[in-house]
């Protein structure tokens, strides 16, 4: 639907692209990580492309494939009204599980990258403040990875089945649970 975007990128940024194509009307470009920022800056600043808005940034976990993670950028141009999806694959090894941060290009990347780090564990080098955003700081692990159990709760507050302390609310809680069962 916006073939001219792919053609323009093929003409100017071929060294940065692994493959490109269309699927159900969406233009997709798979980029090389070492040229990713260059590509993103080019698509933002080139007047024919003019992708001034980063609408979304997310990660897909292809557990079992190598490389495992795919960082996906959805871009939109307000001027030309065309869209592009830029993807880059990274491996799960901690030394390799990173991409350069796009916070210098779009302010939207700030929180979106924090969320990707929080839920998938992909680091964004150069991010000014990479910390958890949706989960709490005491959480261990990356919940949206396919190997994290769906029910893997990490509670913060004492529950009735946890070791009891001399705390009146906990005693009240235990008693309320007993009453719930016995009526």
């Amino acid at each position: 639907m916006a073939r001219h975007v792919l053609e323009r990128l093929d003409a100017t940024m071929r060294h940065a692209i692994v493959e490109s194509g269309s699927h159900v009307g969406d233009e997709i470009v798979v980029a090389r990580r070492e040229h990713l920022l260059e590509l993103l800056e080019h698509v933002r600043d080139d007047p024919a492309l003019d992708f001034k808005m980063l609408t979304d940034l997310t990660v897909v976990d292809y557990l079992g494939q190598v490389p495992r993670f795919e960082v996906v950028y959805q871009l939109y141009s307000l001027g030309h009204k065309h869209r592009l999806r830029v993807k880059v694959r990274v491996d799960e090894e901690p030394a390799e599980c990173w991409v350069p941060s796009a916070t210098g290009l779009w302010k939207a990347a700030n929180w979106a990258e924090r969320e990707a780090w929080d839920l998938y564990g992909v680091r964004f080098e150069g991010h000014p403040d990479l910390r958890r955003i949706l989960m709490y700081d005491e959480f261990v692990g990356f919940p949206l990875r396919k190997d994290y159990p769906q029910n893997g709760r990490q509670p913060l507050v004492r529950r009735p089945d946890a070791p009891s302390t001399d705390d009146q609310t906990t005693r009240l809680l235990e008693r309320s649970h007993d009453r719930r069962i016995s009526g």
Partner: protein, 193 residues
């Protein structure tokens, strides 16, 4: 000692006054807050039951309405707010997420507010209709009159006796009473709590 006190006319009168003048603390988190707004509105009018005055300070409220999903991140906050409330206090779990976790069974949702605080009335529904909420409120009012709320049973007779008995207990015990130690937090097998 508190469970088998003799109900007096004075205690009945105090309970009658308390049940018809509940100051609510709407601990609103999610979609059920929309239905709470509707219950407060003119059509379903919670003010008929005396409970129209939301006090957004736990020190001034006696009915904590847990409206919506409680996530693991929100649970310590809920616990702290409950601990800050002064006796006598009651809790209504508004919605099925606050009652049992709803249809969210995952790493982040606490399966019910009653995992962290004692709940007196559960109003299931996703979200519950305002008529259901008012039915729950009336059930709570019956409980208050019968002196069967969780906190009421503990404190027994009138509030003046309570304060004298429990003045030595601190309300908050930071670091020891509420939060788990780091080694207690990560479940080894990720099983449902």
């Amino acid at each position: 000692m508190a469970e088998n006190f003799v109900p007096t006319v004075l205690q009945d009168a105090i309970n009658w006054a308390q049940k018809y003048s509940l100051f609510t603390y709407p601990f609103a988190t999610a979609c059920c807050a929309m239905e709470f707004m509707a219950t407060m509105g003119g059509r379903y009018d919670i003010a008929r039951f005396g409970a129209e005055f939301p006090r957004f300070s736990p020190r001034q409220a006696d009915l904590l309405i847990v409206i919506g999903t409680i996530t693991e991140r929100q649970a310590p906050v809920l616990r702290r707010v409950y601990d800050q409330m002064i006796d006598p206090k009651w809790v209504m779990a508004f919605g099925v997420c606050a009652s049992t976790g709803g249809f969210y069974q995952n790493y982040t949702v606490t399966p019910g507010a009653d995992q962290v605080i004692p709940v007196d009335v559960y109003v299931p529904g996703c979200p519950p209709r305002p008529e259901q909420v008012l039915d729950g409120l009336m059930a709570l009012q019956r409980r208050i009159q019968d002196h069967r709320g969780h906190v009421q049973r503990e404190i027994g007779a009138t509030a003046t006796v309570t304060l004298r008995d429990r003045r030595h207990l601190p309300i908050l015990q930071d670091g020891t009473s509420m939060t788990l130690e780091p080694h207690e937090r990560m479940p080894k097998d990720g099983r449902v709590r």
